[in-house]
């Protein structure tokens, strides 16, 4: 009986892949990592919130500002329509990610209809997730560039420092996620991902969804709350 159980676990994992709780240690590790990331982003978010409204000079996030020395009027810096689109893109990337994981888990199941084949294509959904993640980064690059052109850099004021640090750290996480996705996609093209790889894809998916939930918090706290 135990032999049956052992034979179903990838040989590389036997004796090394599971903790004494019976849980895969890599999955325990990624959850512990995500827990530590919660603390990192909590420190960045709290820094942003503490400095919010304490900038001596503009530009400001939600209201226009006139520079007293030059008379130049700076408009409110945040572009909510653009950020709403990037938020939607990131939410959809999470959907593509779960569909990719489901496709890998169900690789061996028969696919009768065209819909089954589309939903069951891990390559399609991994590619879509990476494209949507890259699109989000494109939105962020556009936003950062336009802010700098409008007079807000990381050195301009407290808002600029805390804003660029917070969203920059998040963007760096998204970039790491996109690289991870592209690596997994390359493996899928090279040898195909099946149920035995589900744990690896699951771990990547957990990281990706965490990046998504962090953005959910940032979108509300930084962009929407005035």
């Amino acid at each position: 009986m135990a032999t049956t159980a052992l034979s179903a676990i990838p040989s590389s994992d036997v004796g090394h892949g599971y903790t004494t709780t019976g849980l895969p240690h890599r999955k325990v590790a990624i959850w512990a990592f995500i827990g530590s990331e919660c603390m990192l982003f909590a420190s960045l978010i709290s820094t942003y919130l503490i400095y919010k409204g304490r900038s001596v000079r503009g530009p400001f996030p939600h209201e226009p500002w006139t520079d007293p020395s030059t008379g130049h009027v700076y408009k409110a810096i945040l572009n909510i329509p653009v950020t709403s689109c990037s938020t939607f893109v990131l939410l959809m990337s999470s959907l593509a990610m779960v569909l990719a994981l489901a496709a890998v888990e169900n690789r061996d199941k028969p696919k009768v209809t065209l819909g089954d084949r589309i939903l069951g294509s891990s390559r399609l959904w991994l590619f879509m997730t990476a494209v949507l993640g890259a699109t989000f980064l494109g939105f962020q690059a556009f936003e950062f560039t336009s802010f700098v052109h409008e007079g807000l850099s990381i050195r301009t004021n407290l808002f600029g420092s805390s804003f660029f640090t917070l969203t920059g750290f998040h963007g760096a996480h998204v970039t790491a996620g996109v690289i991870w996705l592209l690596t997994m996609l390359a493996i899928d093209f090279k040898r195909g991902l099946g149920p035995k790889d589900a744990l690896n894809v699951d771990i990547m998916a957990l990281y990706w969804h965490f990046v998504d939930v962090v953005w959910i918090a940032i979108f509300t706290l930084v962009y929407l709350i005035k």
Partner: protein
């Protein structure tokens, strides 16, 4: 199969049982699509609230956004990260630091005067 594995006391046997259980309990594709629709609708409502000057001026604006954001956060964690279906150790590993992080943010906001409790007893 489950009867076989339930008798195995080795970590690998328990792991297999857990793995199989998790596979059976994961949501279906249709659930994922429904969750995505709900998340999109909540985002639309959030942005809509932002563009209602009358609502922004009220005391309900910030709490409403925080509740909607928290709802999105919980939905993603429960359904997309499968925390609703996974082992409770994973839940503890995530919610423990998350609660600690929220306490830290709240404490810092009080410490730096961003939040205050006005009871009328203090002058």
């Amino acid at each position: 199969m489950s009867a076989d594995t339930s008798h195995g006391n080795s970590p690998q046997a328990v792991a297999l049982e857990h793995q199989l259980g998790a596979e059976h309990e994961h949501p279906t594709w249709s659930v994922y699509w429904k969750v995505a629709t709900i998340l999109t609708l909540i985002t639309v409502v959030e942005v809509w609230c932002y563009y209602l000057p009358g609502f922004v001026a009220t005391a309900f604006f910030v709490p409403t956004l925080l509740v909607l954001s928290a709802a999105k956060f919980v939905i993603v964690v429960m359904f997309y990260m499968h925390l609703k279906y996974d082992h409770k150790l994973f839940r503890a590993l995530f919610t423990g630091p998350l609660i600690l992080a929220m306490i830290a943010i709240t404490a810092l906001l009080f410490l730096f005067g961003k939040l205050a409790i006005r009871t009328g007893l203090l002058t």
